[in-house]
């Protein structure tokens, strides 16, 4: 598992300790490149599994503007949800304040993206999701590990429809498939 403290990455990127603001598009691009570089190195705990689980930690970031959010959050999510993604990677966003959320929400809406965000009450999905995707993700998260039948029972939906929704959530890297079972992002860091 990777834990990426964005303020540390920011300081490395700018070679300066003075700034804790994620602002400007070039800064965002540099920070994202650094994250991608970190993701290209498998952590020591990986045991041959090509999948990577990464916590993106905003706790020490003062503010993020729209341009930087587009580079750091939107482009990162899009790259790793693409068919030609460099790695099967899953992200959990931690330490996201209401202030950060203003910019992050705007770029998620612009690109039709969604992410898993951790707060004091647990993990939730946010951004652009259909009602089916949201209820299915919530059911998987509650169940911990579940197959499509379990989720269908929990949501009261048809199994085939649930399978389609789970496929969509896997493609969006909000749920991970392990054989016939599914785990929601936010459960597998435990």
């Amino acid at each position: 598992m990777h834990h990426i403290d964005l303020s540390s990455v920011l300081r490395q990127t700018l070679s300066c300790d003075l700034y804790s603001n994620l602002v400007t598009r070039p800064t965002g691009a540099a920070v994202r490149t650094q994250i991608e570089h970190l993701l290209s190195d498998p952590p020591p705990t990986d045991t041959g599994d090509a999948r990577a689980f990464t916590i993106i930690d905003f706790s020490q970031v003062s503010m993020i503007d729209f341009s930087c959010a587009d580079e750091v959050v939107a482009k990162l999510l899009m790259r790793y949800a693409a068919d030609d993604a460099p790695r099967d990677a899953y992200f959990l966003f931690r330490g996201v304040s209401d202030d950060h959320w203003v910019a992050i929400e705007a770029v998620l809406e612009r690109h039709g993206l969604a992410l898993a965000v951790e707060n004091a009450d647990g993990v939730r999905v946010a951004g652009v999701l259909s009602d089916d995707e949201r209820s299915t993700w919530e059911a998987v998260y509650r169940l911990g590990t579940a197959n499509a039948d379990d989720v269908a029972v929990a949501t009261g939906a048809d199994t085939m429809r649930v399978l389609g929704t789970l496929d969509s959530l896997c493609g969006r890297r909000l749920v991970m498939r392990a054989n016939d079972e599914y785990v929601a992002v936010g459960h597998f860091q435990a």
Binding site: L14, C16, L18, Y19, N21, V23, T24, R25, P26, T27, S62, M63, D65, F66, S67, D70, E71, A74, K75, D98, D99, V102, A103, A106, V107, R110, H111
Partner: protein, 299 residues
């Protein structure tokens, strides 16, 4: 022969048009004397635009500085003379190099040329913006974040689109004449490409039948079109537009021969002004007013 450009006594985004009307018929290499001796007051827009004016000239112009001590002292506190010394031949006496101390100056006139400059501006403004927006303008804390984000995005507009450096200044003052309330004002001016030329560099750009500065401003400010075709582009001005709408502020963007505005109820500017005197680059102003009755002005 030296041409004299008379600067009006009160210099803001509207009266600066009088300066540009005098400037427009002159060739770029004409010798200029910019006569600011009788200026009594200048907004951040007026001061940054004056610096920008000098950048458009092939020959270094002369600037006759304000005669009124109070005005010259204020211009010095905004760092105007510090920058003007490299752009103008300054004529007349003016105060030299004191520390900026006026609390209403949130951000002295600052050059923006690189991404690092935006980091510097945001870092410097954050603490002072919090104090002034909360204590003097009585805005909610969430207005402060949006203010800083707006400042950041508008400054980035210079780096991404102008093709050369520009200027930013932020100030708070009581706007008695128009509003009777305190305001905080961001002014960002450059003499670069301007919106029309910037959008014309977009891949596959096809000019519409009515393609001019006004159309380019409508594309960029209202529809969030950028010269970059990536889907995530165009956030900056869209964010600024949303911010001023939320806090009953005003956004105006001038480029070339047009100016477009997001105009609140308290102002009577037309949303779009065309046929203005030609001036290179882009000049942006954001005004956020004090909350009514000491409460939030959010809507």
């Amino acid at each position: 022969m030296t041409q004299v450009i008379t600067v009006p006594p009160s210099l803001d985004e509207h009266t600066f048009e009088q300066v540009l009307e005098q400037l427009a018929p002159l060739p770029p290499d004409a010798k200029l004397l910019v006569d600011a001796r009788h200026v009594r007051w200048a907004s951040p827009y007026g001061l940054t635009a004056l610096l920008t004016l000098a950048q458009t000239r092939q020959e270094r112009p002369v600037l006759a500085v304000p005669e009124l001590d109070e005005t010259a002292s204020y211009w010095e506190r905004t760092q105007f003379f510090h920058h003007a010394e490299s752009l103008y031949e300054l004529r007349g006496s003016y105060p030299k190099r004191r520390q900026a101390s006026e609390s209403s100056v949130l951000l002295e006139i600052t050059s923006i040329a690189r991404s690092d400059d935006v980091h510097d501006v945001v870092g410097r403004v954050q603490e002072r913006a919090q104090r002034i927006l909360q204590n003097e303008l009585h805005l909610e804390s969430k207005a402060i974040l949006g203010f800083t984000m707006t400042l950041s995005e508008i400054c980035q507009n210079i780096i991404e689109h102008a093709g050369q450096g520009g200027w930013v200044a932020v100030q708070s003052y009581r706007w008695t004449k128009r509003l009777g309330r305190r305001v905080v004002v961001i002014a960002v001016c450059d003499a670069g490409l301007g919106f029309r030329r910037s959008l014309e560099t977009a891949p596959g750009h096809l000019p519409t039948t009515r393609w001019d500065d006004a159309a380019a401003l409508e594309e960029a400010v209202i529809r969030g079109v950028s010269r970059f075709r990536e889907r995530g582009r165009g956030h900056g001005l869209a964010g600024a537009r949303n911010y001023v709408g939320r806090w009953q502020g005003k956004l105006s963007v001038r480029s070339g021969t047009a100016r477009i505005g997001i105009v609140p109820d308290w102002d009577d500017d037309p949303p779009l002004a065309e046929g203005l005197p030609q001036f290179p680059g882009a000049q942006v102003q954001v005004i956020i007013p004090e909350a009514m009755d000491g409460g939030s002005t959010e809507r």
